[in-house]
Structure formats: structure tokens, C-alpha cells
């Protein structure tokens, strides 16, 4: 609860707009405010085939906002991000919401903007005006939540057990858990990379020689690309065309190059032995690949997908980074050698030496300052790319091994301590002493659990100045806002070991100039209110749209939801250590006919107080029956709930079932049935 309060507080602090609108909600003064049509009506905006009415457009403060929403025609197709055009909206499917924002006079697109958008079913708005709705959303009231909040991000946690947890940082699912979804991989993930539009996540599975492709709209694996070998690090080149996968198999060390259009392997380029790190020139035309066991750097011509040079490095190169500012790739080696390779000539132009023990090296996003983490000397050296000199030697904690950046700080994570050192970027290059900070992300040193992945354990959230950091030893993920002395909140990983953490942005964003879009899953048929807020100029308006019932579920739709559940298994106890086999039947609410063959019947089992949970899909049997086995390893009470997203049914909407796992020696083990 404290955690949740922290989130609510954070949300409260988000924008000035919150404050402003809060005031306006309390004191609507202008006639315009009072007379504004607030309640969404019938006949949705942007539904194909319907004339565009005034409901689709609002002009305020010199800015025109045109609203539309359409289906994407995708529920199961593998390229869910490609649907376009006038496809009808259907419940349970992905919809795309669009706002075209133009200058009222010139008609020119207005850019860049960051609109806030919430979607809520129109029922239950209790005559709230649009401003009142927005005010409540901004207050983060648990009692008034959007069905779809298009202003947030999700955390992705790479676990040690072939899963990726998707965590909603603000809202728990029915207040029980913050776990929003679980992505199941076929093997343990090692490295990952998001596509530039945050629609896909690529995860290397070294044990299988594969790269899993995850659809980030649906949080499901939609494809696996077989690279062979031992894929670990994965990097997308800046123009997004090829995905580069380090192959560390001893017999074929090099890189696999995946064509992101077709998800096929375009080339496998042998570069050398050992661990590889990969960097690109900012024009994407040159790739630089380190070969850890060969003490070399391979330079690859991206257009030809051919190696053009092997340059000798120091002993065991550990990292390569490209400075766009200097147009140079820098390679750091374990023995302290630092080489600068000119992007134009592809030759070594700079040689420097630091102390042996280099573990990591990375440029901050501006490309000016390179950070070299020295594990042996517990130090970070800072390189000025403009002249290749080392300008700072900074004492940090025990065994620094990863570096991440926000706009303001470099975050140095250590293996030997849970403390992370923050180095202020704005003070670099000045002769005064740097004002360092340390923040404890947990209590136990991450190095206690030798499960670090190549993916980052500290990641900026992209919102203002906040990061998330995983600590495998604590089995926790922490949320930290800059300026605080300690993390503001934490997320349980439900017993899993978090090896890396990332963020996926799900907010409305500009997809072409002046056009802001987002995708979401339509919960169910009916009327919706879309609350839209722009902070500068201040524009708030509620649009509306209507979703017709899906023919496949039309006759099921009733006032209380589209389906009903019957638990067929009579037992309510199981011996701890065994699985509880549960059968249940799903049927339409009105007709009562069985609903057979649903492929997305999800079952969530939790054991209070919520520290353990298990998710899986039920297996469809005949006649609308489904079966699932819930592992009940520990004694105690278990709750089982069922959800069917394609019918817009969440975990809280159907009756749930309780069973008890009893200790084997318990005399009640054979009895106590309900």
C-alpha cells in the first residue's frame, strides 16, 4: 500500500497541468467551460462509413484536434502493427486511436506535443463533465480509473526462468498484483533489444540458438528466428534495418544479421572467438564487433554485410561504443587499452591506456563522455571524446560492472554492493570536484547471485528523471526518481530472479508530423469516452466512439458480461506438492450454449498475501470445457481466477475458486471438502 501511495504521489507530482486542471475543475469560470458538451453521445467518431461530425473535432486556443479511431483487424496475425485503414472496431481486438493536431489558421501540423489520453466506458460516468473526468484521472484515484490509460509505460523484467514479467508500474490488476502479463519464452533470455517504435522486443535464447520476437502490443512471442550458435548480445542498427546478434559459439564465433522486415537471417559473419560487443556508426553503414578471445575488433561494411578489417585491440576487448559527436568507435579492453577507430577511414586514430581491470565501457547519449568501469580498482574513468583524453578518475563502489544513463546522470551499478553511484553529467569537464551521489537499490550486493545477463539491470523509464533497477540478490525491482535519497517503490518479482529490466512506452506518440497515435485492446462493445488533454496550449476535450458487438459474441452479450463459468471439479483440497487439476466450463450468459475452442482462456492462481502467483493458459477440451493443472507446492489457500481477453473478460469479472493445499501428514488431507 505504501508502494501504491508512492506511485500515486509520483503521479500527482507529474505535471503542472495536473495542478492547473485541478483548479479549473474546482472553479469553472468561463461560459465555454460550462456549456461545453461533455457527455459523449451515440454514433462514434471515426467509425467507418459514418460522416465525420463535430464530435470528431475540437478547435481551441488556435489548435484543431481531429480524432479518429479504427480497428486494426488484428487479433492473432503475427504482424499486429501493420493493420491500417478503415477496419471496423471490434471488441477484444486492437484499435488504433489517432489525433491529428493542426494550427487552426495555417492548417500546419503542430509538433512536438505530448497529449494525455484516457479511454473509459461511457456507463458509470455519472454525468461527470469532461474536465471532472480528467481531473479525476490526474488525481490517480483508485475509485476512478480509465479502462485504457494511454499515458504510461510497462516494466519488462527478464527473469531467470524463461519468462519476462510485464509489470504495470501504477495499477495492480484488481489491486492484487502489479503483474500485467507474463511472456513465456522457450528458453532463458540473455540479451534483448526493442524496435525503435516499441512494438517488438527481440530476446536472445542462447541455449536454443534462437531469437524470440515478442509483440509488445500483446506481450506474446509471435516468432522465433533461428540463428544457430550461441546468441547473446543483440543490437538493432540505428536505421532499424538489421538486427545484429552476437554468436559466441566457439566453433563459429561472429555475428548473425537478421533482416527485420522478414525476420530471416540475412548473413552470418565470422569475426572471431569469444564474447562480442557490437556498435554502429550513426549512419548505420559500419558495424564494429569485438572478439573477446582474439583480442581484435572486426569492422563490417553493413551495405555489403562483409567484414572489411580486423584491427588488433588490447587483451580481451570488453566493450565498444560509438561517439557520433567524434565520428569514432572506441574499444576498451580488459588490460586497460583504449582504441579510437575513425568511422571514415576505419583505421585506428587514437590509443590510450587506463589501468587493467576494465569491465564495461559506454558513451552517454550525447557521445561526448565515455565511461570506463574498472572492476579491479573500483573506479570509473571518464573519456572526453573530443580529444581522447581521460578527464576524470572517479572512485566508486565495489566492482562496478554496468553503466546506464538518464539525461542527468550516469548510473554505475556494482556487483559488490547494492549501492549505485550517480555521476552528474552536467559537471563533467569542469575542474571542480564532481558531486557524486549513491543510492541503495536493495540490501544485498547483486553479485551474490551470479545470474547477470548481458542486458542492463538499470534502465531509464523515459518519464522525467526516473530509473528502474533490478537486484537479483533481493529478487526485487526498484523504482527511483532523481533527487530522492532512496528508491520510491519496489516491485516483487514473485519469487523469480530478475536479471535485467527494461521499459516499454505505451503512451500516445507522434507517428507522423502532427499525428499522435496509440494502440489499445478494446475491452468490450459499447460507448466510450476518450478524454484528451494537452498542456500547452491547454486543450481538454472528450471525444466518443462506439464499438459494435462482435458477431461472434453478439448473442452472448448481456448486462452482466458475455459469459458464465461453472467449476466442474468437485474437490477443493489437494496435498501440498501435487498439482490441483481443475476443470471448468464456459458458456454464453443468455443462451447458455457452450463456448468451445477459445484459445485465450487464462488462469491466474495466487496464494495470499499475493507473494506467489502462477499464470497459464487452460487447455480446451470438448463441449466448452477447459482444463488446467495448478501446481500447489506449499500448503495454504489458493485462489484461482479465469480471464478471456478476446471476450473482454478480465480476472475479476467471473466468480473465482478457492482450494486448499494441505500438508501431507495432516489428518485433514483426506477430508475437508466443500
Amino acid at each position: 500500500m505504501v508502494q501504491k501511495m508512492a506511485w500515486t504521489l509520483r503521479y500527482l507530482a507529474l505535471t503542472l497541468v495536473l495542478f492547473i486542471v485541478g483548479l479549473v475543475v474546482s472553479f469553472p469560470t468561463r461560459a465555454e467551460d460550462l456549456s461545453q458538451k461533455e457527455t459523449p453521445g451515440e454514433g462514434g467518431a471515426g467509425n467507418p462509413g459514418e460522416p465525420e461530425g463535430a464530435d470528431n473535432m475540437v478547435t481551441r486556443k488556435g489548435v484543431r484536434v481531429e480524432f479518429s479511431v479504427s480497428g486494426t483487424g488484428t487479433t492473432a496475425s503475427s504482424d499486429g502493427w501493420k493493420g491500417k485503414g478503415d477496419i471496423p472496431l471490434r471488441e477484444g481486438e486492437l484499435a488504433e486511436i489517432r489525433f491529428r493536431i493542426t494550427d487552426e489558421v495555417s492548417g500546419q501540423p503542430v509538433s512536438p506535443l505530448e497529449p494525455a489520453v484516457w479511454v473509459r466506458r461511457a456507463g458509470g460516468l455519472d454525468g461527470l463533465s469532461c474536465r471532472e473526468q480528467i481531473g479525476r484521472y490526474l488525481q490517480g484515484l483508485l475509485s476512478f480509473q480509465a479502462d485504457v490509460d494511454l499515458n504510461k509505460y510497462f516494466l519488462l523484467i527478464l527473469n531467470d526462468d524463461s519468462t519476462i514479467s510485464v509489470v504495470d508500474p501504477l495499477m495492480g490488476v484488481s489491486g492484487v498484483t502489479q503483474l500485467y502479463a507474463m511472456i513465456v519464452l522457450e528458453g532463458r533470455g540473455e540479451g534483448w533489444e526493442r524496435s525503435g517504435d516499441d512494438k517488438r522486443l527481440f530476446v536472445t535464447l542462447p541455449e536454443l540458438g534462437e531469437v524470440a520476437v515478442v509483440d509488445l502490443d500483446r506481450f506474446e512471442v509471435v516468432a522465433e528466428v533461428e540463428t544457430g550458435g550461441r546468441p547473446r548480445t543483440v543490437v538493432l542498427q540505428p536505421d532499424g534495418r538489421y538486427l545484429w546478434v552476437a554468436d559466441e559459439a566457439p566453433e563459429r564465433g561472429g555475428v548473425s544479421v537478421i533482416d527485420t522486415r522478414f525476420l530471416t537471417v540475412a548473413a552470418h559473419i565470422r569475426t572471431g572467438r569469444g564474447a562480442h560487443r557490437i556498435a554502429f556508426s550513426d549512419d548505420s553503414l559500419t558495424a564494429f564487433v569485438t572478439n573477446g578471445d582474439d583480442d581484435s575488433l572486426s569492422v563490417i561494411d553493413v551495405q555489403k554485410l562483409e567484414k572489411v578489417a580486423d584491427l588488433p585491440t588490447g587483451r580481451r576487448p570488453v566493450a565498444v561504443g560509438f561517439s557520433g559527436l567524434r565520428q569514432m568507435a572506441y574499444v576498451a579492453s580488459e588490460d586497460g587499452a583504449l582504441l579510437g577507430v575513425d568511422a571514415a577511414t576505419r583505421r585506428i586514430a587514437i590509443r590510450r591506456t587506463t589501468s587493467p581491470g576494465v569491465r564495461a565501457f559506454r558513451f552517454e547519449p550525447g557521445g561526448r563522455w565515455g565511461f570506463i568501469a574498472n572492476e579491479a580498482e573500483d573506479r570509473v574513468d571518464v573519456l572526453d571524446a573530443s580529444n581522447g583524453t581521460l578527464v576524470h578518475r572517479i572512485a566508486v563502489g565495489d566492482r562496478p560492472h554496468q553503466i546506464a544513463f538518464t539525461d542527468t546522470y550516469a548510473y554505475v551499478r556494482h556487483l559488490g554492493t547494492a549501492e549505485v553511484t550517480l555521476i552528474p553529467l552536467s559537471q563533467l569537464g569542469q575542474k571542480a570536484e564532481l558531486g557524486l551521489q549513491t543510492v541503495s537499490f536493495g540490501s544485498r550486493p547483486p553479485g551474490e547471485v551470479p545470474l547477470s545477463a548481458v542486458a542492463d539491470a538499470v534502465s531509464p523509464t523515459g518519464e522525467w528523471t526516473a530509473v528502474v533497477a533490478s537486484n537479483p540478490a533481493d529478487r526485487m525491482v526498484y523504482y527511483y526518481m532523481e533527487g530522492m535519497i532512496a528508491p520510491m517503490g519496489s516491485y516483487s518479482t514473485y519469487g523469480r530472479v530478475p536479471r535485467a529490466v527494461g521499459v516499454v512506452d505505451r503512451s500516445v506518440r507522434e507517428t507522423e508530423k502532427g499525428v499522435y497515435t496509440a494502440r489499445f485492446r478494446v475491452p468490450e462493445s459499447g460507448d466510450y469516452s476518450v478524454a484528451f488533454l494537452l498542456d500547452s496550449p491547454l486543450v481538454d476535450h472528450c471525444f466518443s466512439f462506439h464499438v459494435a458487438p462482435d458477431s461472434r459474441t453478439t448473442d452472448l452479450a448481456g448486462d452482466d458480461g458475455p459469459l458464465q463459468i461453472e467449476f466442474l471439479t468437485p474437490e477443493r483440497t489437494v496435498v501440498a506438492g501435487e498439482a490441483f487439476r481443475l476443470r471448468f466450463a464456459l458458456s454464453g450468459l443468455r443462451g447458455g450454449q457452450p463456448l468451445s475452442g477459445l484459445t485465450d482462456v487464462h488462469v491466474l492462481a495466487t496464494r495470499p498475501p499475493g507473494v506467489w502467483q502462477h499464470r497459464q493458459r487452460a487447455v480446451a477440451l470438448d463441449g466448452g470445457r477447459y482444463e488446467v493443472s495448478v501446481p500447489a507446492d506449499a500448503a495454504g489457500a489458493y485462489y484461482v481466477s479465469v480471464a478471456v481477453p478476446s471476450l473482454g473478460v478480465g480476472f475479476t469479472e467471473l466468480p473465482f475458486l478457492t482450494f486448499q493445499a494441505l500438508r501431507p501428514e495432516s489428518p485433514d488431507a483426506e477430508g475437508d471438502r466443500r
Binding site: P109, S111, D283, E510
Partner: protein
């Protein structure tokens, strides 16, 4: 009979000038062919000087809009270097030749992929707006009605866009210029400036240069303040930027000439008005000029001393150089609702204190703005004291800096001086650096005598180096200017904090007002211990 030939002479000079301009546009090794040069005009301006007729079409069908080419020039969206400067991660695209022709084609953010461009495909794209493969381009990309010749020239330049370097830049060198007086008393100041610049550049080069380039200094000794002589030097020396120029004669004209040629000018040492340069985007000053300093003094008088509508007179030498300052005083008084300002000129070098004072006393003047030099100011104070007349006197410290040190308090009680910087701005570390840097160059004596020049040149190179480091290897004059514009509260260690923006060309926009009568807010740290000091911020 010389007169009839005068127009010819003038015409000849113009021709020479035009030739110099052309020379200056083209760096050795970076020459554009005539076709490319014409293409560059079309790229940047949507038109050519010789009258290319280009129309841009936007939208389709009934929504189609036709614009003159100048309203939809390539460079307007894709940038002078063709890299596109995307806003919010969206269009416009990079259109450099190496990008357009990359072998694996292009993947657009919406998932559309098309094969690479070649010359023919680019030509047809510019006319029909269809990507290779036939799909229509983004609606914001115009289609052009353009003649064969214009298109040929444009495409010829598009193959070079982003490659052509600004003058003064090579693979390994950034050439920077400065201007100093050749002779006279001021020449010693010039030598000091030159020494500081040379020493700083040598130091930067010793530390590895900047993004793979060395700094090189070219010095122009100005013997003839005629801007044409400066232009001839520019054409020959081709500096990338000009740093700390000191041209006491002809500031206005020389700065204007440099700026008009697109040469960034950093930290000129000048007493002259900055206001006349306010539209000059390429000149960056450290300190406010005389008019701004007087405005600040008047504001201080109004707000802090609470003089109620003082009767004001300006006592000034008869010279053009103070015109801006006079205008500033007049306008400021009007804005504040003060009585109309009285102007009391005196011949240069001929200040007759008693007669001026007699007139002003009779007119019951409360406030004197004095623009003479130190010795003249002293006479004003002495004579008004003996005449029993006690007005407030406002003056610029840069004209009469030493006066407070040796004037009896009784005389200077109502004197207020404006200083753009004070010793309190100087940190010991940087002072040591300066002194170390000048060891073996400028002697101690000249460095001390011209400390303001040393500080100005040193701080200017600090700003220059910072901006060059931030601008990166892909350097141009635009990049330098844009990085300077991003300096925010930058500490040089020797001046007040420096901030430039797109609309601000004075780095330390404020002045210290110093005077015995000011309730001092920081008496201990100043060598002028008995004086009060107040900072008037002119940002608001």
C-alpha cells in the same frame, strides 16, 4: 578632372568585392562545379539567382496546393547539410547521397520499405513524389515542377550536400582569426590578446585538439579600418570564426562586414554600442555595451534610490560613437516618465567644467549621465562640489574606472559607476591558469595593465572551445553558432555566468553598479571595500 571617372572606379571596386565574395565561398578542395553551385542555390533557396522557375505541389486532387519553390526549398526542411533534423523522431529524412543510395534500401517508420535511390529515381521522385517501387511519399514532401536543367543542377548538388565544408575547416585544422591594431597605444593590447589566444590554442592542441582537429590562429593587424581591407583579409585568410577582435577604430563597420559574410565573431572587445548589432546573428558579446550599461544605471536610480522623476542631463563628447548611448538615455527617461533629457555636448578633449556646471545647476538638474573620460569626470566632481551643487552622477566604469580609488568620499558620494565584471567574478584557479599560460609570453606588466583584455580573450577561448567540443566532428559555422546559443549559465571562472540564446547575443546580461552611496550587499569580498555593489540583472 577626376569626377567623371568616379563611377567607374566604384564599379571596379564592386567587381573586386564580388570576386572576393566568390573566392570566400569556395574552400580549396571543396569547390563546387558551376552546376553544383547553382544546384546549391536551388537546394537552399528554392530558386536560382539566374531565375529558375520552380513550383512546389503539396497534397493531391482538390486539396492540391501550389507554392513557389522558395516556400518549399529542400534545405528548409532537410537542413543545409541534408541530415534532416527530425522533429519528434519523425520526418524529414536524411537526404545525403550516401543515405539515399544505401544498398539495402530504406525502411520507413510506418514499416514501408523501398529500394535505394539512384540518380534517375531521385529525379523522378522529385517530380512525381513516388518512392522507388511506386508508393507515394509522405504528404508533407512536395512534388516539384522543375526544368530539366534546374533538376540536373539540383541533383548534382544533392550528391555533394553535407560534404562541402565551411571556410577555415579541413580534416585536421580549424583556422580561427583575430584582428588587432597594427600601431599606436592600442597595439600593446593587441599583443596581449594575441598572446592569450596563441597560448590557449597551443594548450588545446597539446591536449589532443578538438574532434581530431588542431586550432590554428591567423592574425590580421589592422592598419586601415576600412571594411574592404578586412574583407580582403577574410578572403585570403579564410578563418572559420573570429575570436576576440580588438578594433578600436571602426568596430561597427568591421563587425558588420564579418557578420555579413557569415563569419561567427566571438567576444569582441568593444565599448561601442551593441544595440546597432542586435540583428547581427553572428556576433557574440561577453558584456553589455554602453547604452545597456547606462540603462541599468538609470533603472537602479529609479528603483533602488527612488529618485522621483529626476531632471536629467547627459554630458558627452561630440562624437558619433556615443549616439546610441544618448538615444538609450533619452528613451529610458521617457519610458520611466522622467522629464525630457537635456543634452550637454562638449568638444572632444575640450571639457569646460565650470561653464557646463553653471548651466546645469541653473537648470536644477538632479541626475547627470557623464560620458567623458576619467580625468574629465574628476573635474566634473571637483567643480560641482566647489559650486555647492550635488547631483547624482552616472558613468561607465570602462570609461573612468580608476576614479573611485583616489577621489575623496565627499566628492564621489553621489557617483554611481557601471561595471560589466568585477574582481569578485575571478576565481583563483582560473587566475593561476592565466598567469601560468602567459609565463614566457606577455610580461607581467602588460598583462596587469590590460587585465580586462586578458580576461576577455581567455574567457572567449573558453567559450569557443566548449562550443566546438559540443558541436562535434561534423562541424560548420551553423553548428558553432547553435552550440553557442545553447550555453546556459556557463562558468568561465573569470566573468559573470554566460548565457546565449537564439535571441540573446550578450553573454553576461547585467551590470554591477558600484558607488559609495549604495547600501553595500557584499562589502568584504571586494577590493573596493568602502563601496557598495549591486548587481542589476537585465534579463528581466
Amino acid at each position: 578632372m577626376r569626377q567623371p571617372s568616379a563611377p567607374l572606379v566604384r564599379g571596379g571596386r564592386l567587381l573586386c568585392l564580388a570576386a572576393l565574395v566568390l573566392l570566400a565561398l569556395q574552400a580549396p578542395g571543396d569547390e563546387l562545379s558551376p552546376s553544383e553551385a547553382r544546384g546549391r542555390e536551388i537546394y537552399l533557396d528554392g530558386a536560382a539567382a539566374d531565375g529558375a522557375s520552380i513550383r512546389a505541389l503539396l497534397g493531391a486532387g482538390e486539396m492540391e496546393v501550389e507554392l513557389p519553390g522558395a516556400a518549399a526549398a529542400c534545405g528548409g526542411c532537410h537542413g543545409h547539410d541534408g541530415t534532416g533534423r527530425p522533429e519528434s523522431g519523425v520526418l524529414p529524412f536524411n537526404i545525403t547521397w550516401s543515405f539515399l543510395t544505401r544498398s539495402y534500401g530504406h525502411l520507413h517508420p510506418d514499416g514501408h520499405h523501398h529500394p535505394p535511390f539512384d540518380e534517375d529515381l531521385l529525379r523522378s521522385f522529385l517530380r512525381d513524389g513516388l518512392y522507388p517501387g511506386g508508393r507515394a511519399a509522405d504528404p508533407w514532401m512536395p512534388r516539384y515542377e522543375i526544368s530539366e536543367r534546374d533538376l540536373t543542377d539540383l541533383v548534382a548538388y544533392m550528391k555533394r550536400v553535407g560534404e562541402v565544408r565551411d571556410p577555415g575547416l579541413s580534416e585536421t585544422v580549424i583556422r580561427l582569426g583575430t584582428l588587432v591594431p597594427a600601431t599606436g597605444e592600442a597595439a600593446q593590447v593587441g599583443t596581449v590578446i594575441r598572446d592569450v589566444l596563441e597560448a590557449r590554442f597551443a594548450e588545446v592542441n597539446h591536449e589532443g585538439g578538438i574532434h581530431g582537429r588542431r586550432l590554428e590562429l591567423v592574425v590580421h593587424e589592422v592598419s586601415d579600418p576600412d571594411p574592404k581591407a578586412v574583407e580582403a583579409w577574410l578572403a585570403a585568410a579564410r578563418p572559420f570564426a573570429v575570436v576576440s577582435p580588438f578594433t578600436p577604430h571602426g568596430d561597427l563597420e568591421i563587425h558588420a562586414a564579418l557578420s555579413a559574410r557569415g563569419v561567427p565573431v566571438l567576444g569582441p572587445l568593444t565599448l561601442h554600442s551593441l544595440r546597432s548589432f542586435s540583428l547581427n546573428r553572428n556576433v557574440f558579446y561577453l558584456y553589455p555595451g554602453l547604452p545597456e550599461q547606462l540603462e541599468a544605471l538609470m533603472e537602479f536610480t529609479d528603483r533602488r534610490l527612488r529618485l522621483s522623476a529626476p531632471r536629467t542631463a547627459v554630458v558627452h563628447p561630440e562624437m558619433d560613437a556615443v549616439d546610441d548611448a544618448l538615444g538609450a538615455v533619452r528613451d529610458t527617461a521617457r519610458e520611466r516618465g522622467w522629464p525630457e533629457v537635456r543634452f550637454e555636448p562638449f568638444p572632444v578633449g575640450g571639457f569646460e567644467a565650470p561653464s557646463v556646471i553653471g548651466a546645469l545647476k541653473e537648470a536644477a538638474i538632479d541626475l547627470v549621465v557623464f560620458l567623458g573620460i576619467e580625468e574629465e569626470l574628476r573635474r566634473l566632481l571637483e567643480n560641482s562640489y566647489s559650486a555647492g551643487w550635488r547631483p547624482y552622477v552616472l558613468a561607465a566604469g570602462s570609461l573612468s574606472g580608476g576614479i573611485l580609488a583616489d577621489t575623496p568620499p565627499a566628492l564621489s558620494e553621489r557617483l554611481l559607476l557601471a561595471y560589466p565584471t568585477l574582481p569578485r567574478d575571478r576565481r583563483p584557479r582560473e587566475l593561476r591558469e592565466v598567469s601560468r599560460l602567459l609565463t614566457g609570453r606577455t610580461g607581467d606588466e602588460p598583462a596587469r595593465a590590460h587585465l580586462q583584455a586578458v580576461i576577455s580573450a581567455y574567457s572567449t577561448t573558453t567559450l569557443l572551445v566548449e562550443a566546438l567540443r559540443k558541436a562535434g566532428r561534423d562541424l560548420g559555422r551553423r553548428e558553432l553558432v547553435s552550440e553557442l546559443e545553447r550555453l546556459y549559465r556557463f562558468e568561465t571562472g573569470l566573468t559573470p555566468q554566460i548565457t546565449f540564446t537564439a535571441n540573446r547575443r550578450v553573454g553576461a546580461l547585467g551590470v554591477y553598479v558600484v558607488g559609495p552611496g549604495i547600501p553595500g550587499n557584499d562589502r568584504r569580498t571586494d577590493s573596493l571595500a568602502r563601496l557598495g555593489v549591486a548587481w542589476v540583472d537585465m534579463e528581466q
